[in-house]
């Protein structure tokens, strides 16, 4: 994880606004402003100017604090608008 953060930082990416997806297990989103929609199949959040939707089944919020959100469950994909 540290290596990934180091590489992203070297390329000039803002790691405080990153999304990490582990298919079928979880999705970790940094910089979440608010959760706009919450259901076991669909969790939508506002992250900066983006609207991120996590799609899957049996999903729940594993932890949520200070803009860091972890979605647990059978995560199948995300859409960014």
């Amino acid at each position: 994880m540290k290596l990934l953060e180091q590489l992203l930082a070297e390329y000039g990416a803002d790691v405080t606004k990153s999304i990490t997806l582990v298919p079928g297990f979880c999705c970790f989103i940094c910089g979440v402003k608010t959760i706009t929609s919450f259901s076991p199949e669909n969790i939508t959040v506002a992250a900066g100017k983006l609207k991120v939707t996590v799609l899957g089944a049996g999903m729940e919020v594993g932890s949520y604090f200070e803009g860091d959100l972890m979605v647990k469950g059978d995560v199948r994909g995300i859409t960014i608008d």
């Binding site: 608010t34 959760i35 706009t36 929609s37 919450f38 259901s39 076991p40 729940e60 919020v61 594993g62 932890s63 949520y64 604090f65 200070e66 647990k72």
Partner: protein, 296 residues
């Protein structure tokens, strides 16, 4: 053991999460169950959560206390049981740690009072920790008791078992009384292997005085035991011997009649006094008299 309590609130998830984030409360394991929104917070945040959802419409409640709280309240509900278990554990620990009884076994059992005295002097005793006993010194002292051939000190549970083996013949020969002076004189040397010396070297002693007591002082307690040791008493003796003449042979015969060991005599002087039909030899002898008790 986690400190996460599960809370349920009648609300939709989105505004509830917004309120919680606004109050900077970390939330975990959020899920929807019908009209209920269920989530977990740390114990320290429960009051804040109730304050946020204070309005009756939210119908907030704790669904499940944290493992830590459940454990503590379980303990409180069974305080008697917990106290009993603690008392039992402490008693079990102390009984293994303390000596509650001292047993002297083996053929040297007749020395039990002396052995107990030594054990007490070396730090162990009833209701005292076993670790306080200086085992090597105690073993050494027990082995120096008259006739003792083997000594083993062991702790079995809360019982301190001292196995003492002694020469079988001595068991019956032990005299359970103090060493008493059988002559008057000056005490020149005293050695108490067992028991307590009652007089100092150089002190005058009279016939019948106790020289070694059969016991030892242990703190404020007197522990009965046996006396074992010896003493040398310097004695003076004036004797008369009647001989036909004052020749050297007569004088030698006169000294021989005293039946004293040559090495015990410190000094001897004599004077001759003429009598009708012979000579009276008056001898003044200073000698060492040895007495002992319970020594092989």
């Amino acid at each position: 053991m986690t400190d996460l309590a599960q809370i349920s609130v009648i609300s939709s998830a989105e505004p509830a999460l917004k309120k919680l984030q606004k109050s900077k409360i970390p939330v975990y394991n959020c899920k929807k169950q019908g009209a209920e929104f269920i989530f977990c917070v740390k114990d320290k945040d429960i009051k804040k959560v109730f304050a946020i959802f204070a309005k009756p419409c939210y119908n907030v409640g704790v669904r499940r206390k944290s493992t830590k709280n459940r454990f503590l309240s379980g303990l409180l509900m069974r305080i008697g049981l917990v106290a009993g278990a603690l008392v039992f554990a402490v008693s079990a620990y102390l009984s293994g740690f303390l000596v509650l009884k001292i047993e002297v076994t083996g053929s040297g059992g007749y020395l039990k009072d002396a052995v107990r005295g030594i054990i007490a002097e070396e730090g162990a005793g009833e209701w005292k920790p076993f670790s306080a006993l200086d085992k090597p010194v105690a073993s050494g002292r027990i082995l120096s008791l008259p006739g003792v051939t083997f000594c083993n000190i062991q702790k079995r549970g809360s019982v301190l078992v001292v196995r003492v083996e002694a020469e079988p013949a001595l068991g019956n020969g032990v005299v359970p009384r103090p060493l008493v002076a059988d002559v008057s004189g000056t005490l020149r040397k005293i050695t108490a292997i067992c028991g307590t010396a009652a007089a100092e070297e150089g002190a005058p002693v009279k016939e019948g005085d106790v020289l070694i007591y059969a016991g030892v002082q242990s703190g404020e307690k007197w522990v009965e035991g046996i006396a074992a040791g010896f003493a040398w008493i310097e004695c003076k003796k004036t004797c008369e011997y009647f001989a036909a003449d004052g020749s050297e042979n007569s004088i030698r015969e006169a000294y021989a009649s005293l039946n004293l060991q040559a090495e015990n005599i410190i000094s001897k002087t004599h004077s001759l006094q003429s009598e009708e039909g012979g000579v009276r030899i008056i001898m003044e002898i200073v000698y060492l008299h040895k007495i002992s008790i319970n020594l092989t």
